[in-house]
């Protein structure tokens, strides 16, 4: 009985993995094939293969600049978020103040808003803050994260109060308490949030497209679209695949390196 169940779940997991892997494998294969081959859909073509598509994709955009801008954007958002979500998370988890739960519910309501709805109001705010067409302008709306605050609140609440009480007996201030006691214990939550935040902002297209115009402030996704979206003609699949690979590569490498830590963070923080 038990062996059967395990076999079934193994099959199900393998099927899901295969479903995820096929488009990815196809992208890898297609990116290595020059021109527009007749059997472009094939996963196991005969060849020829080459790196020409990567060269062409690299040349048709300013990838070094896009990488840098994307890194600054994602890194900047994450750094500020880590500060704001741990402080707000602590406040909602531990401090007592009137209207706390109401405020928290109001905060969570943000999760219900679909971001495109906020494009015009956010743009107007950026313009009045003189942040239109700057990287900081892309980052600003994300500095507070309802999801992050919720996650950190739950994480902090799961930490036994004994640690804090011991630290307070030793005379720690709230700042020291958060920094030296709670944050190290909340690391799985922070790491899990960092992954979600990085991938979300790395992959985001619409908001950077709206907030930034100058080529010097362009990010990867918007840059990629300049040669990946074909409305009237067909696309050179190989180049599109190569470009997509270039965009996804840093995240992939990051994940491969930190795979083990990521997985354990997700398990510990309860995000699946």
């Amino acid at each position: 009985m038990r062996a059967d169940g395990r076999l079934l779940s193994l099959l199900a997991v393998s099927a899901a993995a295969l479903l995820w892997a096929v488009p990815f494998a196809w992208m890898a294969v297609a990116s290595l094939r020059p021109g527009i081959p007749a059997d472009i859909a094939s996963l196991t073509p005969a060849g020829p293969f080459g790196l020409g598509n990567f060269v062409e994709a690299w040349k048709s955009g300013s990838f070094p600049l896009w990488y840098l801008n994307t890194l600054i954007m994602c890194g900047g958002i994450l750094l500020v978020q880590l500060v704001t979500i741990s402080m707000a998370g602590y406040a909602f988890a531990r401090l007592r103040f009137p209207g706390r739960d109401l405020l928290f519910s109001a905060f969570l309501l943000q999760l219900l808003l679909i971001p495109p709805l906020l494009i015009v109001p956010n743009l107007a705010t950026l313009v009045s803050l003189h942040l239109y067409d700057t990287l900081l302008g892309i980052m600003a709306p994300y500095f507070a994260s309802a999801f992050g605050v919720f996650l950190m609140r739950q994480t902090f609440r799961a930490i036994p109060r004994d640690y804090e009480e011991a630290a307070m007996l030793d005379g720690a201030s709230i700042a020291a308490l958060i920094r030296h006691v709670l944050l190290p214990l909340a690391r799985p939550g922070l790491v899990a949030f960092a992954i979600v935040s990085l991938t979300a902002h790395w992959n985001e297209f619409l908001w950077p497209l709206m907030a930034v115009s100058s080529p010097k402030n362009q990010v990867l996704t918007v840059g990629l679209a300049s040669f990946a979206s074909g409305a009237e003609a067909g696309s050179a699949w190989g180049i599109v695949a190569a470009g997509t690979f270039l965009v996804a590569a840093p995240l992939l490498i990051l994940f491969l390196i930190f795979q083990r830590r990521f997985v354990s963070s997700f398990v510990l923080s309860g995000i699946k």
Partner: protein
């Protein structure tokens, strides 16, 4: 050397764009700086070509500096332009899908070109006479010029010479009528998907464009060209067009069932897996560069008349710009649509040049001699009809597209499809109709 701390790294991240923004302000004193939003519905090659053109423009005169801003697809460009206008940061000029111009006029988000043209001592009507007449309905709205056509296209019938010979058809005599078309598609079709008779992109936007072309070739109007509150989806001309598709997809089975996209069509065409395809003239250069076997192009076959809907994009003046910025945009627009530049862009892309004089240039005559497919695209302009544009264009267009897509998947009959499309379109148009044609008079 200081150690780079997190804080200083973040500080730098904030300071760099801010400094760059300041530098931008300092330069503006000498030249008027404007942005131009542009979509490129094909590959990055075209985006690079556009940047090269703008560099040349910036170098060729001293008064204006233009920053070309690539803004994604036609739809993304539309979104970004609207958001930028609403946020008070309109670009100087936008290359906008020509069928969206009417909505900008309805919403009051664009300025007309008439005052600028009049200031130069020309009448707007005389100015627009320099363009192909078929472009007028999508650019001149309520008697004023709101769009200057830049790159335009019509759907074209592409066919493979080898496939035609193989099927016993004469490549010199492509199908000219719907009856010949169905017969040719039948002859070309080989069983089990080895070769289809015909393919066309049935995805949103393309689907409506081609459907409107079929309806107009069947003698219909499809929509009211002069008033944005009416469509004629349930007319006999529309029923006939949908019947043609129904026969080709569901009865004769010469078109693959379901919705193909443009990539699927070109891939199949290059591989010889479809004998014919309908695709934009804007794809001519792409097909020419990638099709290894001989192919030719022909007019869309006719039923009651030849007709080919216009597609492509026009330059518009978003509302909210100062007179200096408008003048700067005008300088750019004049340059971009000049016969020389419009002709160069046409040769590079396959779009036809909207200004008639472009075809009097020697380079253009040589190009047409060299590439007979481009000549056919140009000749089809005689039969060009306006592009679908109404109030709430995209949603109203989709009311028909959803039905056609269902028809292509065999889920609906033509008779029911046209009724449903008309009903949905009427509902979408009602708010506008009630404020305009049906507005209370007393």
């Amino acid at each position: 050397m200081d150690r780079i701390t997190r804080r200083s790294a973040l500080g730098a991240a904030i300071a760099i764009p801010a400094a760059a923004a300041l530098a931008g302000v300092a330069k503006a004193a000498e030249r008027t700086e404007i942005e131009m939003f542009f979509p490129v519905p094909v590959q990055g090659m075209l985006a690079n070509k556009m940047k090269e053109l703008i560099d040349r423009f910036n170098g060729a005169q001293a008064g204006v500096t233009v920053t070309p801003v690539y803004t994604g697809s036609y739809d993304d460009t539309n979104l970004k332009t609207r958001a930028a206008i609403k946020a008070g940061k309109p670009p100087g000029a936008v290359i906008m899908s020509a069928n969206f111009v009417r909505e900008y006029v309805i919403n009051g988000d664009v300025d007309p070109f008439d005052p600028i043209i009049e200031k130069e001592g020309k009448t707007p009507a005389a100015y627009f006479d320099a363009f192909w007449p078929a472009l007028k309905p999508n650019a001149v709205i309520d008697g004023k010029i709101y769009g200057i056509p830049f790159q335009n296209s019509t759907p074209l019938l592409y066919y493979g010479v080898d496939a035609f010979r193989d099927a016993g058809l004469d490549p010199d005599k492509p199908p000219a009528t719907w009856i010949e078309w169905v017969a040719a598609a039948k002859a070309l079709t080989k069983p089990s998907g080895q070769r289809w008779g015909l393919m066309f992109p049935g995805t949103y936007d393309y689907c409506g464009w081609i459907t409107s072309g079929l309806v107009m070739a069947n003698g219909g109007q499809y929509f009211n060209h002069d008033y944005g509150g009416e469509v004629f989806y349930d007319a006999p001309s529309a029923l006939g067009a949908l019947r043609l598709l129904d026969i080709m997809v569901n009865q004769a089975k010469v078109i693959p069932p379901g919705v193909s996209d443009a990539n699927g069509c070109t891939s199949a065409f290059f591989a010889g897996r479809t004998g014919m395809m309908i695709l934009s003239t804007g794809s001519l250069s792409f097909v020419r560069g990638n099709m290894k076997k001989p192919y030719r192009v022909a007019f869309l076959p006719k039923s009651m008349r030849n007709a080919a809907p216009i597609g492509g994009a026009s330059l518009i003046l978003p509302k909210g710009n100062t007179p200096e910025r408008q003048a700067a945009a005008w300088t750019l627009i004049n340059w971009l649509t000049s016969p020389e530049i419009a002709g160069e862009w046409s040769r590079f892309t396959g779009y036809f040049a909207p200004r008639k004089a472009a075809y009097d240039l020697p380079e253009m005559k040589k190009y047409l001699d060299q590439y007979p497919d481009a000549k056919v695209a140009l000749d089809q302009l005689r039969y060009a009809v306006p592009w679908f544009d109404t109030y709430n264009t995209v949603a109203v267009r989709k009311a028909m597209e959803d039905q056609v897509q269902a028809l292509l998947s065999g889920k609906v009959k033509p008779e029911d499809a046209i009724v449903a499309a008309q009903k949905n379109a009427n509902e979408l148009l009602r708010p506008y109709v009630e404020q305009t044609a049906l507005k209370p008079l007393v």
